[in-house]
C-alpha cells in the first residue's frame, strides 16, 4: 500500500531527519500530496485544538472561534514561508527547487500533529496544577518542528549550519517584506478602483 508507505516514510523523516531529508531530495521519496495532506491535517488539528482543548488551558472565547482563521494562521504563513524561502535561496545558491521546499516544509509540520493530538486528549483530564505538562508538550512540538525545519532547509539547499540559520532569519524578513508589499498593492488597487468609480460617477451625473 503506497499510502501506508508514505506515512511510514514521513514518520521516518520526523525521527531521523538527516537521513529522511536526504532521501527526500535525492531518492525522490517525498510526495507533494503527502506534504499537502500533512498541512491539511495540521489545519484540522488546530481547529480541533482551539475548540476541544481542555477547559483549564482553553482561554479561547467560544464566540470568537472561526475556522477561517486557520487559513490566516497556518496555510497562508506556510505558503509565504515557501515563497520567501525559494525567492531567497535562488539568490543564495540554494540547490532546492520550489517543489522540494514545499515538500520539505510540509513534512516538518508532522511533529505538531503527532504531539498535538495526544496533548488535546491529555488536556481534558489535567487540572490547573498539571497544566505545565500541557505547555511543556506544546513547546516540545514547536521545538521539534523548528529543528526539522532547520535540518530540512540545510539538506535541501546543501548549506552549512551558519548559512542555514542566516537563511531562515532572512526568510522571516522576506516574509515581512512580502506582507508589506501585498498590503501596499491592495491599498493601491483600492485607490485606483475608487478613483475610477469617482470618475464614472462624475460622468454619469453630468450626462
Amino acid at each position: 500500500m503506497p499510502f501506508l508507505k508514505d506515512i511510514k516514510y514521513s514518520l521516518h523523516v520526523a525521527m531521523h531527519p538527516f537521513d529522511g531529508f536526504w532521501d527526500l531530495k535525492y531518492e525522490n521519496k517525498g510526495k507533494l500530496r503527502m506534504a499537502l495532506g500533512i498541512l491539511m491535517a495540521l489545519t484540522l488539528t488546530m481547529i480541533v485544538k482551539r475548540q476541544y482543548v481542555g477547559y483549564v488551558v482553553n482561554y479561547n472565547h467560544p464566540l470568537a472561534l472561526n475556522s477561517i482563521n486557520e487559513l490566516k494562521y497556518i496555510i497562508f504563513p506556510f505558503l509565504l514561508w515557501c515563497l520567501a524561502n525559494w525567492s531567497l535561496t535562488t539568490l543564495m545558491d540554494g540547490e532546492g527547487k520550489f517543489s522540494e521546499i514545499v515538500i520539505t516544509t510540509g513534512y516538518t509540520l508532522l511533529p505538531l500533529i503527532l504531539i498535538n493530538i495526544p496533548n488535546i486528549l491529555l488536556s481534558n483530564v489535567i487540572t490547573l496544577r498539571e497544566a505545565s505538562f500541557y505547555h511543556l508538550l506544546d513547546a516540545l512540538a514547536t521545538l521539534w518542528f523548528v529543528w526539522l525545519l532547520f535540518i530540512g532547509t540545510m539538506t535541501v539547499h546543501q548549506y552549512t549550519v551558519l548559512k542555514t540559520i542566516t537563511t531562515m532569519l532572512l526568510t522571516l524578513a522576506v516574509v515581512g517584506i512580502i506582507i508589506f508589499l501585498g498590503l501596499l498593492f491592495f491599498n493601491l488597487i483600492q485607490q485606483i478602483v475608487s478613483f475610477v468609480y469617482t470618475v464614472y460617477q462624475e460622468l454619469s451625473l453630468r450626462g
Binding site: V56, H61, V125, T127, L128, R129
Partner: protein, 480 residues
C-alpha cells in the same frame, strides 16, 4: 381558517403586550455587569431611585455646591453644604433636625470656609475638613466646638507646604486621616490628640515608557519643562469596621484606583484576576471620586465620568452598577459623594444640590444577601439564593461560581464542574476536576485495567499465532 385564527391570536397577544405600560419603577439607567470576557452584559437593576431632596425641600434654603455626605450609624444624614459653610442634619424621614451654621470658638464666633469633607464618629462627634481655613474642626453632636487641628508640624514637612484638607476620616482608635489637596505623600495621619504622626499609603509613581524615552533623549532645559513623575494624590477615603482604610485615586490610567490600606499603609485590596475594580471597561475610563465601604468587604465607588456607582465585593468582583449622568430622578449632573445605609444608597449631587435615595430591588437584595453568605463562607445557604438570582439573571457569573463551590463542597463534582465552567472560574473548576477524576478512577480503574491487560494479552497471543508458522517456515527454508 386555522392559520387565520392563529394569526388573530398572535396579533391580539402582541397588541396586549405593547399596550401594557412599562413597569412603574422603570429606571432611567440600565443595569449591567461585565462578563469574564470583558463584555457588558445586561442585568436586572439592583437599586431603584425612590426619592430625592434638595435644600429647599428640606426647609433650609438651597444647598450651594454641597461637597460631602455622611450617614451616621443611626441613619442620620449629614450634608456638608460647602458653599454656605454649614452642616445640615436630616433624620430618616428627611426632616431637618438641625443646621450647624457656625460655632463658638473660644471668645470669637467662628465659621467654616468652603469645607469639603465631613466625618461623624460612632460617638456622634463631627469632624469637618475646613478646607480654605486649613484646619480640621471637631464638633460634638449638637454643633458645639470641641477643638481644631491645624496644619501638620514636623521636620519632614517643608516650609512651602500648603495645607488644604479635603477629606477626613477617623478610625476606631481615634486616629485621624486627612486627604490634602496636592499632597502626594499619602494620607496625613494625626493621632487622637491631634499630633501629626506621618504620611501613610502613598500611591506608586506612574510613568509611561514613551515619556521615559523622551525624557532620556531630551536636554536638561527641555527636561525641566516636562511633567514630573510624581505619585498621584488620593482624592477620597473611607474606613471599614476593621479599621482598614479605603482610598480612591482619580487617575484614569491606573489599574488600582481603589486601595485598601492596612495600619502600616500597605495596599491589601483583593483584586479579581480577570477584571480589577476600575469601573467601566471603555476607552474613556472611569474616574472615582468617592468610596463607601458597607461591610463584608463590599464597597461602592462613585464614578464622575458617567455618574455611576459601581459596587464590588471583597474579591473585587463587580456586583451591580446603578446611576448615570442625566436629568431625571436617579441620574446626576455632578455627583460628589456616595453613602449607603441598610437597604438604601444615597448620592449627593453637587451642581443640583440634591440627594437622591436609591432603594434595593428584589434582585439587589438577593445579590447582597447571597454575597454576604458567600463571603462569610456559608456556601450552601448562599447557593440557594444564587439559584434565585439566576432565575432573574441567567448571565450572573458569580451566581454560577457560588453554586459551583457549594456543589464542590457537597461532593457533587461533576455538576460543580458544569457550574464553575459557566461561571468561568478555572481555579475551582480544576479543583472539581481533580476530585472528579479521582472518584472516576476509583470506580473504573479495575475495569479499564482489566480491559487494557486483556487487549495486551490478546494482542500478544495473536502476534504469536501469526508469527509462529512463518518462523518455522523460515527455519525450514534455512535448513533446506
Amino acid at each position: 381558517m386555522r392559520i387565520k385564527s392563529s394569526i388573530l391570536v398572535l396579533v391580539s397577544v402582541l397588541l396586549l403586550v405593547s399596550l401594557c405600560p412599562r413597569p412603574a419603577g422603570a429606571a432611567p439607567y440600565e443595569g449591567y455587569t461585565y462578563s469574564y470576557w470583558g463584555g457588558a452584559v445586561q442585568s436586572p437593576i439592583a437599586y431603584l431611585p425612590s426619592r430625592a431632596i434638595t435644600g429647599l425641600e428640606a426647609g433650609t434654603g438651597a444647598w450651594n455646591a454641597p461637597g460631602d455626605l455622611f450617614v451616621s450609624a443611626e441613619g442620620l444624614l449629614y450634608v456638608l453644604d460647602s458653599g454656605n459653610g454649614r452642616i445640615v442634619v436630616l433624620d430618616k424621614e428627611w426632616n431637618t433636625l438641625r443646621v450647624i451654621e457656625g460655632f463658638q470658638n473660644g471668645e470669637k464666633k467662628d465659621s467654616f470656609n468652603n469645607p469639603e469633607g465631613l466625618f461623624v464618629t460612632d460617638g456622634g462627634r463631627i469632624y469637618v475638613a475646613d478646607t480654605e481655613n486649613g484646619r480640621l474642626v471637631e464638633l460634638d453632636g449638637t454643633g458645639t466646638f470641641v477643638r481644631e487641628i491645624g496644619p501638620p508640624k514636623a521636620d519632614v514637612i517643608g516650609a512651602g507646604f500648603e495645607y488644604f484638607p479635603r477629606k477626613v476620616i477617623v478610625d476606631k482608635a481615634g486616629r485621624i486621616y486627612v486627604v490634602g489637596r496636592g499632597v502626594y505623600e499619602g494620607l496625613i495621619e494625626f493621632d487622637s490628640d491631634g499630633q501629626f504622626t506621618g504620611f501613610m499609603g502613598t500611591n506608586k509613581v506612574q510613568f509611561d515608557p514613551v515619556d521615559l524615552f523622551w525624557k532620556s533623549v531630551s536636554t536638561k532645559e527641555q527636561r525641566e519643562k516636562m511633567v514630573q513623575f510624581i505619585p498621584l494624590e488620593f482624592n477620597n477615603t473611607d474606613v471599614d469596621e476593621d479599621g482598614f482604610i479605603y482610598t480612591t485615586t482619580v487617575d484614569k490610567k491606573t489599574f488600582s484606583p481603589v486601595k485598601r490600606l492596612n495600619p502600616s499603609g500597605i495596599d491589601v485590596l483583593r483584586l479579581s484576576k480577570e477584571i480589577p475594580p476600575i469601573g467601566d471597561l471603555s476607552r474613556d475610563r472611569s474616574a472615582f471620586i468617592d468610596i463607601d465601604v458597607t461591610g463584608n468587604g463590599v464597597y461602592r465607588v462613585l464614578d464622575s465620568t458617567r455618574g455611576r456607582v459601581f459596587t464590588y465585593n471583597e474579591d473585587g468582583k463587580l456586583l451591580y452598577v446603578i446611576g448615570q449622568l442625566g436629568s431625571q430622578l436617579g441620574t446626576f449632573k455632578n455627583p460628589a459623594a456616595v453613602e449607603s445605609y441598610e437597604n438604601a444608597i444615597y448620592v449627593l449631587d453637587r451642581d443640583l444640590g440634591r440627594i437622591t435615595e436609591f432603594t434595593v430591588t428584589q434582585f439587589g437584595s438577593m445579590v447582597n444577601e447571597a454575597n454576604t453568605l458567600y463571603s462569610s463562607g456559608k456556601h450552601d445557604e448562599a447557593a440557594k439564593l444564587w439559584r434565585e438570582v439566576l432565575k432573574l439573571d441567567a448571565n450572573y457569573e458569580m451566581a454560577y461560581v457560588g453554586i459551583g463551590k457549594s456543589l464542590l463542597r457537597q461532593g457533587e463534582y461533576k455538576e460543580a464542574m458544569t457550574y464553575l465552567k459557566l461561571g468561568n472560574d478555572r481555579e475551582y473548576y480544576s479543583k472539581a476536576l481533580g476530585k472528579y477524576r479521582r472518584e472516576y478512577m476509583r470506580d473504573y480503574f479495575s475495569l479499564y485495567m482489566t480491559g487494557i491487560i486483556a487487549v495486551l494479552l490478546g494482542g500478544y497471543v495473536i502476534v504469536r499465532l501469526v508469527k509462529r508458522p512463518r518462523k518455522e517456515g523460515r527455519v525450514q527454508d534455512a535448513v533446506s
